[in-house]
């Protein structure tokens, strides 16, 4: 999985490309952790290029949410692909992590 981030004014976009699975989950966790500790606690994870997610990947995403909240910010997700959407719905995590269609919309209301 390839990760990159970009400051977008009121939030930071994290672009995750590839498969978010048992092998790559710890990488995402660490990456977002660093972005948060560098002072950007409002994060949007852009999942447009994430084709697959397993339970470890989901765990990492919630772990990142916790890190952002602990730092006083929030984590939102955008551009979710079909398999990831199915996993989120199956586990009811779609009620915790609302999926926005674009990164711009994610913090659009605040």
């Amino acid at each position: 999985m390839e990760l990159s981030h970009q400051a977008k004014g009121s939030y930071t976009e994290v672009l995750a490309s590839g498969r978010l699975n048992m092998v790559s989950a710890p990488t995402l966790r660490a990456y977002v952790g660093e972005v948060v500790s560098s002072g950007s606690s409002r994060i949007v994870v852009n999942l447009a290029q994430t084709s697959f997610m397993d339970s470890s990947g989901l765990g990492a995403l919630i772990g990142c949410l916790k890190a952002a909240r602990q730092a006083g910010g929030d984590l939102r997700i955008a551009a979710v692909q079909p398999q990831v959407k199915m996993v989120l719905e199956l586990t009811s995590m779609d009620r915790v992590l609302t999926s926005y269609s674009t990164t711009e919309e994610a913090f659009g209301n605040d």
Binding site: R19, N21, M22, V23, F52, S56, G63, R95
Partner: protein
């Protein structure tokens, strides 16, 4: 009486051939020119073995007098196989198949999946079969796959297989089914005959030597083989092969997976988070499960039980991991909730259901998928044969010519075969040299694949006679290498004056000439007057095709490279003469002409001696006559509608012979 003369000629060929070749090895090699002397004696030895295998074939030539009456209640499926042939051709064959008198069902096996053909079949009340969804993203196995697919949706006791162009006689089943009254007979093959071929057969399409003395001879050794069309097969025998193949392949794949498992798990550990004790523990479980399967396999436990157990244990380990992920996730949610209740939602912390855990643990979404090497091992530890569209593959899929491989496996299981020497279907041969060469290449490649994958000389269950009958066909496809030597040797003498033989003395001629004469007489006697010249020409003239078949098949079998396989088009190709197809042969012909001129000049200037020059010029003339077949073939534009087809009801003796299917004896 014919049998006596044939056998006498075989014995004489053996004696005179061994006498000549033995002397050549022992006393005639020109070691100063070993680089041509050794290839030439090897090529000559090759040819001696080839003719002796032919002699062995016709030694037991079997002339059957016809089948007993068939059981009237024998059920038959007639399969018309097609891929991209014109619909008119397919329907013409299929409707003729429907008119076959013995009760049967007619099926069009359309690998082209054409809706128009489906509709035509429905309009005429014919069965229509095409590949289902099971075949998506699986190896298709060409015609063998097409037939295997149809075997699963039909039920007839016997199967008549027809290529799309092979129009059957209404009595084809009445003439052949009776052989199956013998419970051990699994195959009845009839000749393949082509109606669109002129009398001089420029492309060497007819195969009266093969569909004649050669198959009759093989029949005598219970080794007549399946040639892909115009044959009736016993379903039970095919299904037996399918089942045995399934068990063999499953066991092989399980053994391979177990052997690769240690390395795979090591790779998995490296790929995964080294700090995660959970992942480590799961991999420990997987490793233990695989180790147990390994010892169970050694102890002879059934494949289904041991794979079931592995999958169950691995499934449990994966579920534990997923459960742990879920627990961690819920703990995170609890913490988040404690920080900020509203953001989690008013229904409180979400509980992830067992059902969701199950789904996240299943093959499709399993975290193990992240470790491709480990997942690959586990995927192979099953009995579902997931890599194939269907577990049972009754027709052999090891070769692009499924027919020979399938027949050999049947023989190895103790089944018998019959060659019924009577034309009962009329087909269409290629009408241009390009298509013809593609077809010959495919047959040669297929035959070589079988040799390299399932060498008949080492197959258990085959009798030695049967082994040699199969081997004989394969051996004949090596003729391309000998051809190069036969073209090179006279050119080298005429150009450079180098003779591969120590001297062209009386010693040479008194051994060589009797052998050559008896060799030709053997073909004349065994062939009952069928001329063999066309076959001899093509077995040498198509040398680039034969060599390409050998090299591509070897690369395919040993290194997994694709063959570059193409379906033989049944309709005529357009355009002008394609001289580029025979460029190597044109180069050889030019070289031979230059050599003959140079040799004559050398003789005139006293640089060469008369006997050697004469012999080698004669040899060059022979080579050019061999190659001349291609000049006509390249210009051949197909058989006009006004031409007079040869009487299709018997293999008429004035027919040019050829050994297109098989180069035996050429």
């Amino acid at each position: 009486m014919a049998r006596f003369w044939t056998r006498l000629m075989v014995v004489l060929t053996l004696i005179l051939g061994v006498n000549y070749i033995g002397w050549r090895w022992a006393a005639s090699l020109n070691w100063d020119a070993w680089w041509i002397a050794v290839p030439l004696i090897v090529a000559e030895t090759y040819s001696l073995i080839d003719v002796l295998l032919f002699g062995m074939t016709v030694w037991r030539l079997k002339e059957r007098t016809g089948a007993p009456p068939a059981r009237p209640d024998a059920t038959v499926d007639v399969f018309v196989t097609t891929y991209n042939e014109p619909l008119e051709m397919v329907m013409n064959t299929a409707l003729a198949a429907a008119r076959i008198r013995h009760p049967h069902s007619t099926w069009i096996l359309d690998d082209g999946d054409r809706p128009e053909l489906r509709q035509l079949a429905a309009e005429h009340g014919l069965g229509y079969v095409t590949r289902g969804e099971d075949w998506a993203n699986k190896p298709r196995h060409a015609k063998a796959g097409n037939l295997n697919n149809a075997l699963m949706v039909t039920a007839g006791e016997f199967l008549l297989i027809l290529d799309a162009d092979q129009v059957p006689e209404p009595d084809i089943l009445e003439k052949t089914l009776g052989y199956f009254n013998n419970r051990k007979v699994a195959l009845v093959q009839t000749p393949q005959y082509f109606t669109n071929v002129p009398g001089d057969d420029p492309l060497g399409s007819q195969a009266p030597l093969f569909y004649g003395p050669i198959q009759q001879g093989k029949d005598g050794w219970n080794a007549a083989f399946f040639c892909g069309s115009n044959a009736v097969l016993r379903r039970e025998a095919l299904m037996e092969l399918g089942l045995l193949g399934y068990v063999r392949e499953t066991e092989k794949s399980i053994r391979r997976a177990l052997a690769a498992s240690k390395k795979a798990i090591r790779q998995g550990r490296k790929a995964a988070d080294a700090d995660s004790p959970l992942v480590g523990a799961m991999l420990d479980e997987v490793e233990a499960a695989i180790a147990q399967a390994d010892s169970q396999l050694a102890a002879g436990k059934s494949l289904s039980e041991l794979t079931y157990e592995v999958q169950r244990k691995v499934g449990a380990a994966v579920r534990t991991l997923v459960q742990a992920d879920v627990h961690a996730l819920q703990a995170d949610l609890q913490e988040i909730a404690a920080m900020d209740l509203a953001a989690v939602g008013d229904t409180g912390v979400k509980v992830i259901t067992d059902e969701a855990v199950q789904r996240l643990s299943a093959r499709e979404w399993s975290p193990l998928g992240a470790m491709e090497s480990v997942q690959a091992v586990l995927d192979a530890l099953t009995v579902e044969r997931a890599g194939e569209a269907q577990p049972l593959m009754p027709l052999a899929t090891i070769s692009v010519t499924e027919d020979m491989a399938t027949a050999m496996r049947m023989h190895a299981r103790g089944w018998q075969s019959v060659y019924h020497h009577e034309i009962l279907a009329y087909g269409l041969a290629p009408e241009d040299i390009g298509t013809m060469m593609t077809q010959r290449l495919r047959w040669a490649q297929g035959t070589m694949q079988v040799l390299l994958r399932e060498n008949p000389l080492t197959q258990r269950g085959l009798k030695w006679g049967q082994r040699l009958m199969y081997f004989s066909t394969m051996w004949s496809y090596l003729s391309g290498f000998a051809a190069i030597v036969y073209f090179a040797a006279p050119a080298i003498y005429l150009l450079l004056g180098i003779l591969p033989v120590s001297s062209l003395s009386a010693d040479f001629f008194i051994r060589f000439i009797p052998f050559m004469v008896v060799n030709q007489v053997l073909f004349a006697v065994a062939g009952r007057g069928i001329p063999t010249w066309r076959g001899q020409q093509y077995s040498l003239a198509l040398f680039p095709t034969w060599i390409k078949a050998c090299t591509t098949a070897a690369r395919n079998v040993w290194f997994g490279r694709p063959l570059g396989f193409a379906v033989t088009p049944k309709s005529r190709q357009s355009g002008g003469p394609r001289w580029s197809l025979i460029r190597p042969q044109l180069a050889v012909a030019a070289l031979l002409v230059v050599a003959a001129v140079a040799g004559t000049v050398r003789l005139a200037t006293g640089l060469a001696e008369p006997v050697g020059t004469l012999v080698n010029v004669a040899w060059v003339v022979f080579d050019l006559l061999v190659l001349s077949v291609l000049f006509k073939a390249v210009r051949y534009r197909g058989h006009g509608p006004g031409a007079n087809p040869t009487d299709p009801c018997n293999l008429s003796p004035d027919f040019p012979v050829e050994t297109e299917r098989n180069l035996d004896g050429a």
